[in-house]
Amino acid sequence: MTTTYRDWVVRALTFGGILLISGIGAGCGPSTNAALERARANYVQAQQNPQISTYAPVALQEAQQSLHQAEQAWKEDKDSDEVAHLSYVTDQRIEIARDAADKKMTEAEMKRLDEERSNVLISARSHEADQAKQTAHEAEDRARKAEQELADLQAKQTDRGLVLTLSDVLFEYNKADLKPGALHNLYTLVTFLKENPERNLLIEGYTDSTGSDSYNLSLSQRRAEAVENFLLQNNIPPRQMVVRGYGEDYPVTTNNTEAGRQQNRRVEIVILKEGEVAANRMR
């Protein structure tokens, strides 16, 4: 009797338990969970993406963990809140994996772009270097040409600079007018000065000792100015020249012979070194 009663109680409880369990199952809806299905599909897609599995394996692993937890939660007690929660975490972790992979790939690309930029800069620099070399060549050529021209002028190197002497025979007798014979040298000088605007001139007139000092001073000044005028007419700027007549001072040789006196009657054009100021180099 007692046994029968206990047996009945047990059966009733078991039946009730089964009812309860099926009730929980029924309460949680169908045998699949939409959020979990989505998370699973999402994960499979991410896993099959070689970029994500290569560049973000750790983040993908974390997504797999929460997906596994979601699967467990669903299998064990069909707690839809927890499943939805874990599915959401899975989805977010997959997004994080995508971003991490994206960042890594962009960084790899930036490394390549950095190299590309260096290459562009290097080629630009070597181009600039070529240009600089060419410019240097041109400058050298100009300098050589200038030297050649000065040699053509038969200018003499002195401690004051290159000195070009226009002798007495290139001026009209006792006048300041230039004879045509002087012009060849002066045109060469014009060309040289135009190519070398940094080279200044001293134009100095001298006479022999014959005649009065004032006459000689005036004649030497006018002859020097005649040279200056010629250069001015040929567009050499006045700032490039300083003009001075010295009369019978600074003879180059004796005034006791006609040949000596002729040598002393002259105009000297001192071609200063590049950048030298004429006023500083005057006698």
């Binding site: 991490a100 994206d102 181009h127």
Partner: protein, 130 residues
């Protein structure tokens, strides 16, 4: 003999059923203090990263969920609090990773522009030369 074993088996069944019911019914565990703290840290870190600039929406969601988690803690709804905190954490991390990816893409774009303009410059220069 047979009956006894049946009874025992059935009792085991019953206790199993009760156990399942216990887990389902009174699932509110201990307060998820550590999880909430982790979420707070993640939200803070995201706030100091490039996220405010590049992923403001995601960051706001993370902050909102974290606030909800704290409110759930106050109401002693610990399961809810744990879920919200875990979600706030993952949302904050996503805001950060999204911002990093975006700012890196921007930097790459800038670099591409720089290279293009350098190329253009070089081309113009060589055209001027010859």
């Amino acid at each position: 003999m047979t009956r006894t074993s049946t009874i025992l088996l059935n009792w085991r069944n019953v206790s199993l059923v009760c156990g399942v019911l216990a887990v389902g019914g009174c699932s509110s565990a201990r307060p998820p203090t550590a999880t909430v703290a982790q979420a707070e840290l993640a939200v803070q870190e995201a706030g100091q990263s490039k996220a405010p600039e590049y992923a403001a929406g995601e960051l706001n969601i993370a902050r909102e969920k974290f606030d909800q988690a704290k409110r759930a803690m106050d109401k002693e709804e610990y399961d809810l609090a744990r879920r919200l905190a875990e979600e706030a954490l993952v949302d904050a991390k996503l805001a950060q990773s999204k911002a990093e990816a975006e700012s890196t893409r921007n930097a790459a774009q800038e670099l591409r522009k720089t290279i293009d303009s350098l190329r253009g410059e070089a081309e113009r220069q060589s055209r001027n030369d010859y």
